[in-house]
């Protein structure tokens, strides 16, 4: 009961209730007389431990891992108690977080994708991290890979502290690759640097499985389409800049080249022409193909599937090593009325989670905190360590208020490019339509 009441009470003990709290209290306890009781038993409960509200979007295996990390830190920290709220990934999460922040009474701490920072920070929805406070807890620029640290930076301030980076990678079945003669003496896939050679290698794997060489699912999934496209686009060394008030600055030739190459993979021999993500995962997990293009978060699924496999960053086929990635990152949603004790607790909690993020690596993600990455334990964690180089070559979404994981941007991409992937539309037609859509949104007033 005290816990229930503590949640009804405003953050720092008893203040006069606002309308909603009053209605909740009245409904629960049957009238105005109850408010006295609330003050009586709510006060002491809040005095000992600070309650830290923490929103995140991690479900499934990630959610279980995160909960275990929270439980560990809670047990070690007598001063605060972190109470997580898990919301569904994507639009449902980001709309709620934005609205809570716009209202000025959001949770003390939240996890966002670093790629969404440009849609939140300039509008004042996030508070910047205090670098001195972080440094006191051994968290600083030096403890992160450059690109990962920079992902949280905007106009000189740091708005997000990455927990991980989670790139789009290739997992390959070592039995299939071995039989196809594609493994080197170290047991890893031999380096492939030529796009035509990669197609051949996939056909060789297909000859072994009898199914497909490659598993890649994308139907109705803008994120999956974008991840592969942007990996290949950046491998060409091409840039993409999206600034409000200007047309999208993109390399059309490279984009069309990438889309054409992707369609050459989706020929129903190398890869199924119209699979969704679940079909692709199931196919690879049952040995129906030699390679899977997916995010690192599918690693535990494959380990559970019991196939022999290893993982690597997507082969560098167009000259520049590059991997699409994003980061789960801690943010301080903007509060009108900051409670200093709670904010300090948030810093403590984040530092503690970062230092214990080795267990997060088991879920496939690359820990952002370098002391963990450089530790013996991580160095011996296979196959994770085989794609740990991704942190140096990752590319976040081009920055704009509407881009990032689970954003409208990925929906626009799917809307215009899916028919190209399916072979129903020419690459230049789909690409130009996508750029038109971007130009429309760039021409409108920037709402942040």
């Amino acid at each position: 009961m005290p816990n229930e009441i503590a949640r009804i009470l405003p953050p720092s003990g008893w203040r006069s209730p606002n309308r909603r709290q009053f209605l909740t209290g009245a409904a629960l306890l049957g009238g105005a007389a109850a408010t006295g009781t609330l003050a009586g038993c709510g006060g002491p409960a809040a005095a000992g431990e600070e309650t830290l509200r923490f929103w995140h979007l991690l479900s499934g295996g990630d959610g279980v891992k995160m909960q275990a990390m929270i439980d560990r830190v809670n047990a070690e920290s007598p001063d605060f108690d972190v109470v997580p709220t898990v919301l569904a990934w994507g639009t449902p999460y980001y709309t709620k977080l934005a609205m809570a922040s716009a209202g000025g009474r959001p949770p003390e701490l939240a996890i966002m994708h670093a790629s969404r920072i440009p849609g939140y920070a300039p509008g004042g929805l996030l508070d910047a991290w205090d670098l001195d406070e972080l440094a006191k807890r051994d968290v600083s620029k030096e403890t992160f890979a450059d690109r990962v640290w920079a992902s949280g930076e905007l106009d000189g301030d740091i708005f997000s502290i990455a927990l991980d980076s989670h790139p789009f990678i290739a997992m390959y079945n070592t039995d299939v690759a071995g039989e196809a003669g594609l493994l080197g003496s170290d047991g890893l896939l031999t380096e492939i640097t030529d796009p035509e050679r990669f197609l051949e290698a996939m056909r060789e794997m297909q000859a072994v499985t009898g199914g497909h060489g490659l598993s890649y699912g994308y139907i109705n999934d803008g994120a999956q389409m974008w991840r592969l496209f942007y990996t290949l686009y950046r491998q060409h060394g091409a840039e993409m800049a999206l600034n409000s008030g200007q047309p999208a600055d993109v390399d059309r030739d490279v984009a069309i080249d990438c889309l054409t190459y992707i369609t050459s993979l989706l020929d129903d021999t190398i890869c199924a022409s119209g699979a969704d993500i679940n079909n692709a995962i199931a196919e690879f997990a049952t040995g129906g193909s030699g390679m899977l293009f997916s995010g690192v978060w599918e690693l535990p699924t494959m380990q559970d599937a019991g196939i022999a496999f290893d993982a690597m960053t997507i082969p560098t086929l167009f000259g520049t090593p590059a991997a699409y990635a994003d980061s789960h990152a801690f943010v301080l949603p903007h509060q009108n009325d900051v409670d200093e004790a709670r904010r300090a607790a948030a810093y403590d909690f984040v530092a503690n989670i970062l230092k214990g993020s080795l267990s997060w690596a088991e879920a496939g993600h690359i820990p952002a905190y370098q002391p963990v990455v450089n530790s013996e334990e991580y160095r011996s964690l296979e196959p994770q360590v085989h794609y740990a180089n991704a942190a140096e070559i990752i590319n976040y979404d081009p920055r704009a208020w509407f881009t990032g994981s689970g954003s409208d941007f990925q929906t626009f991409f799917a809307a215009n490019v899916q028919n190209v992937f399916l072979g129903r539309e020419a690459p230049d037609v789909g690409w130009d339509a996508f750029v038109d859509r971007l130009n429309t949104i760039l021409s409108k007033p920037n709402p942040v």
Partner: protein
């Protein structure tokens, strides 16, 4: 009756009025706070550049409306909504009528039919969406599996822009036809039995009776069902959002979803409010035309 009313309008009337207002107050307060005020405030917002973050909040006059009328996505979503309304209302009325007619034929175990036809209506939209997502799955789905046993090629139910809206309609019909069915069945059971007895004495067969007695007697119910159905279909959001999220390529995105996207994921509350009011005007038009239609009928 009127004399009694005027008779009561004496010294007591203002006190009675006061009591009346007091009894209505709990409702009125909520009505004003959560319906009337949001509508007024929404109208105001549609003339501003208001965003979720507070940037560019100023008064913009009719700029939002101007932008909306030139926004191809707005027109496309409106087109999708109207398309959905047309292709869903027709089966939802006709199939309900056929089902009610069949159940009304004094079949054995009538309660079982009634129950079976109505019960999907009680499911939450999330549940219905999950059912159909699985059944429409191109590789593992029940429907394509059943089709393949008859040698029919798999249909890309949700992946083909030309098919996806029909898939949504099929799910919607299965889900909500039970309500219209119930209205029709109740109306059929209210048709006096003597009409049919007289007709059979005159030698009218089953079909003759259906077209000459049942259908005309169901007239007012049909008007009611069509109006309710058009209004319900225009508001479509839940099942589309959960089954296709508006895809593929925006081919099933309804206007309500576009309002949600521009306002909550796109942050542009002012613009989103303007689109809502354009839609509001459309629904108002439908409702008012219904009133005129009904008035002409009864006159």
């Amino acid at each position: 009756m009127s004399t009694t009313v005027t008779g009561r309008r004496s010294p007591n009337s203002s006190k009675n009025n006061l009591h009346g207002w007091a009894f209505s107050a709990p409702f009125l307060i909520f009505f004003l706070m959560f319906l009337v005020w949001p509508i007024i405030h929404g109208l105001y917002m549609s003339f501003t550049g208001q965003t979720l973050t507070g940037a560019n909040n100023g008064f913009v006059g009719f700029a939002n409306y101007g932008e909306a009328f030139g926004d191809p996505d707005m027109w496309r979503s409106l087109g999708n909504t109207i398309y959905f309304t047309v292709i869903s209302t027709i089966p939802l009325v006709l199939i309900a009528l056929v089902m009610a007619g069949l159940v009304n034929m004094n079949l054995p175990a009538q309660w079982l039919w009634r129950f079976s036809f109505f019960v999907p209506f009680l499911l939450a939209s999330t549940v219905v969406s999950q059912f159909f997502l699985w059944m429409y799955n191109p590789q593992l789905g029940l429907i394509n599996d059943a089709l393949s046993t008859f040698g029919i090629a798999p249909v890309p139910w949700l992946n083909d822009p030309n098919v996806a809206m029909w898939s949504i309609v099929i799910a919607t019909v299965w889900w909500t036809v039970g309500f219209n069915f119930l209205l029709y069945l109740a109306a059929m059971q209210n048709i006096p039995q003597q009409h049919y007895e007289a007709a059979s004495l005159d030698g009218a067969g089953g079909w003759r009776q259906f077209f000459s007695i049942t259908l005309p007697q169901l007239g007012p119910t049909t008007v009611l069902i069509v109006i309710l159905q058009v209004l319900a279909s225009l508001k479509v959001f839940d099942q589309i959002y959960q089954i296709t999220a508006g895809g593929p390529g925006g081919s099933t995105r309804s206007l309500v979803q576009y309002v949600f996207e521009t306002g909550f994921t796109g942050y542009r509350l002012g613009y989103s409010a303007a689109i809502s009011f354009i839609f509001f005007a459309l629904i108002l038009l439908v409702s008012v035309s219904q009133i005129f239609f009904n008035r002409n009928r009864s006159a």
